[in-house]
Symmetry: C3
Subunit: 211 residues, 3 copies
């Protein structure tokens, strides 16, 4: 494994860890879960998006599920949340930042893998976003909440931007590590700007609701 691959693996595992930690903390905050719940929901947050993508593109068993390193890192992040819990609350800044790293990474690798399995461009963009946001969506459903990603914040949109860059670059044959990094950094930046300035995706025009 050369330096580039080691770096990619490290970033991917970092994202997995951050998703599990953040997912387990969210689950503990919104539902009265026990250790099985914390572990399950942390792991599902971290790996659920990739698992759904792999089911849809028929790459089974799912890649991260089969690789013990991802399972171990996801379980570790969940257990840290279980034992430290609220004491991590003053670290939410860094945790949100690591979560954005995961979002960016998963969007890029998700879109890229979908293309490699022969899916079309629109499908690859969607699957990039599914990889990035699918795990948190499953966690929210299991803790009886309307998934955050469907309601507020800029969470799916940066993932869709990154996945679109990957797909366009691949279509025009100039995709490579530099473009992947550009896409990931842009996703990260949009996500962090959204967190900082509390931006949301557009809601339906108000005159069209209720009644």
């Amino acid at each position: 494994m050369d330096t580039g691959e080691t770096l990619l693996l490290a970033l991917d595992l970092t994202g997995t860890f951050a998703f599990a930690l953040n997912g387990a903390l969210t689950a503990m905050r919104v539902a009265d879960v026990d250790i099985i719940g914390v572990l399950t929901l942390g792991i599902i947050t971290a790996m659920g998006g990739g698992i759904v993508r792999d089911m849809l593109i028929d790459s089974l068993p799912p890649a991260t599920f089969s690789d013990w390193r991802y399972l171990a890192v996801a379980a570790g992040g969940s257990l840290i949340a279980f034992f430290l819990g609220r004491r991590l609350s003053h670290l939410m800044g860094p945790i949100n930042m690591l979560d954005a790293v995961g979002l960016s990474f998963f969007a890029v690798t998700g879109a890229s893998k979908a293309l490699a399995f022969g899916l079309g461009p629109a499908q690859a963009v969607i699957l990039g976003a599914v990889t990035a946001v699918g795990g948190g969506t499953l966690r929210d459903v299991l803790t009886k909440r309307v998934p955050n990603v469907l309601r507020s914040e800029l969470y799916a949109i940066p993932a869709l931007i990154a996945a679109t860059i990957v797909v366009v670059a691949t279509t025009f044959h100039f995709y490579g590590l530099p473009i992947a990094l550009v896409a990931a950094v842009l996703c990260f930046a949009v996500r962090m700007i959204g967190v900082r300035y509390d931006l949301n995706a557009p809601k339906p025009p108000r005159r069209n609701l209720g009644g």
Copy 2:
């Protein structure tokens, strides 16, 4: 593509459009979703049933998901809901009718595809109904509702009738376009009668509940 195939494709896309429009309107009515939520829930309502069926029969990637025309029509229906919203409320009659077209079509094509993939008769009936009602069920779960199809109305039952006709006709070797149309028309009629007279599937005998 001959006229028959064009007609089938047109009906199938009509159903997809109606499911997406209706699904997105329902999502906007019951949850505080943003544009990502409206698009996601509209597309899931339209294509979720077929995707679940294709996962279970191992026909991956799922057919409608791979075909950009279905994605485009589903996204279009969702966006119309997003921008017009309440102003469509006086069109709920025609929208319900188009939705019943989708229900009928998906039940027939779903059962038929399951048989073509070698599933048994009971399985094909179930998968016909799953194709027809699965997307709306997923939408309801994502918007934190007990799925309507499990609680009230005549929605699964007409789909099960149509799927059963397809399976019986195929088993006795007289399945063809005429039978498919009979099954779809019957499903459509039962569904519309249910809507018109507000009929529901039977509930458990009351003396057996609560306590």
Copy 3:
């Protein structure tokens, strides 16, 4: 089919029946479901865990879904719940016991099947538990509850113990019918002790929550 196989099939169908009956009764108690809902939720409770496992290990169409005997037994259990309902309430002792038989059986056969499909040891343990508890989890999501298995009781833990025994024994080449029975009996015993003494899995340390 020799006596051993007949016994295994009988135990497996017994577990399927108990899961469907118990799942349908739970669904009727917590949600206002109709006959479609009772049937759907009973069958999903009974077969959902195995279906999720088979999707993840790429054994499609799912085994129990393809075998009409499992479908028939699951539908039968659900219909008994629908028609008898509350009158079964004085039988909850035996029903809980049969449910524990299902839990034990599904954990053992689930882990064993995952290993046979080449999954690693940690993955096989997880999939054994998923087979045992996945159906009830899906039912709870569909009836808008945070799944019980994530919150309380000893339900996943006995399944994880049984699956771990199967995996360890297989790894060291002494797995066989006697070990399978030991694993199942131990799972059953831990589950019944948990029911009897109202034991729960550990919660997060209280000082780490809320705020």
